[in-house]
Symmetry: C2
Subunit: 196 residues, 2 copies
């Protein structure tokens, strides 16, 4: 255990401990209210050490999103395969990330985006522009249709996350992932490649 | 205009002014942070007058949701008609409410539900149990399937609201309502009556 005012051991354990504390604090308090100080306290390290490892709070926030998964490459991977099953694979990916430890960070990001314009812009730009549109392009969809199709996919993915993980509406909250993959996947598929 | 420390005229204008201020304050600050004092200041009335007209903050919050629309009867109305166009009518109703002045209150409720367990429970119980399940029952759907179908409808409706009004992802944010009715309606229809 690293003492709060002790030496600064430059090891992976400390970095990992800060990341885990950041996930917890951001999830509980959102991006705005979750302070570096609160994260440092939770990790039992000096606040300066948090800055040393991650720089700004924004970078730390992104780090909690990137670790342990890289959403961009995961989505690219999920969409690689039979075109008419891309929707099913995308929903399966989303649920596997949200049901994993990374889901806590994703939830924090979604919560922040609901009340904070900066976080909303981050989520909008990062998820939609960087991930979904690139992914839609990968499916060989008309570039003129890609923005609408990816935004529609975003409505279903965001809503699934809100209902399952935030509002916790049954039976969606407790349903096995594969049941939701089977029921929601075809709707995402229509947005991706279907007749609109 | 009613002065903050003036007499207490028991008229509709004052009540309406408080309601409008409450919608604005809840939308900007959420349910938790939006105080009776802030609402009274915005409406230029004494805080005691807010309590006089609406009782608790919870009751005021519900009043901002109920006025000027009654979601329950609107949904029942929207689902009354050809069964295979219920999805389209439901999306049209949702967009017409969110695009109206009542949308500000709906947005406040959604934001509160994202960060506050009380508001999440309220939204869950009110929207899903009272509105959607009753509405699904109205379509003559098997009672055993109704909870899953209504929760799935909730994923699409909640996600549409989040992407159009909170994250403001284009082109969904600026799309004419009827374009979204045509593109999203069939997906809601599948959740309501389609093969899952």
């Amino acid at each position: 255990m690293v003492r709060r005012s002790g030496r600064r051991p430059g090891n992976q354990d400390t970095r990992q401990s800060i990341l885990e504390s950041a996930r917890t604090v951001f999830a509980e308090q959102g991006f705005d209210k979750g302070s570096i100080r609160a994260i440092a306290t939770q990790a039992e390290v000096d606040p300066a050490l948090v800055h040393h490892y991650f720089g700004t709070k924004e970078k730390l926030f992104l780090a909690t999103m990137d670790a342990p998964v890289d959403p961009g490459s995961l989505v690219t991977e999920a969409l690689d395969g039979p075109r008419d099953e891309a929707g099913v694979r995308l929903v399966r990916l989303v649920l596997s990330v949200w049901d994993s430890p990374a889901g806590v960070a994703a939830l924090a990001m979604l919560r922040s985006a609901m009340s904070n314009e900066w976080a909303a812009r981050l989520l909008r730009e990062f998820v939609v522009t960087q991930i979904l549109r690139r992914a839609v392009a990968q499916l060989g969809i008309d570039e003129r249709e890609a923005p609408l199709r990816s935004a529609l996919v975003a409505t279903q993915i965001a809503g699934l996350a809100v209902v399952r993980y935030v509002l916790k509406v049954e039976p969606v909250a407790s349903a096995p992932a594969e049941q939701l993959v089977a029921t929601v996947g075809p709707n995402v598929q229509r947005y991706l490649t279907g007749d609109l």
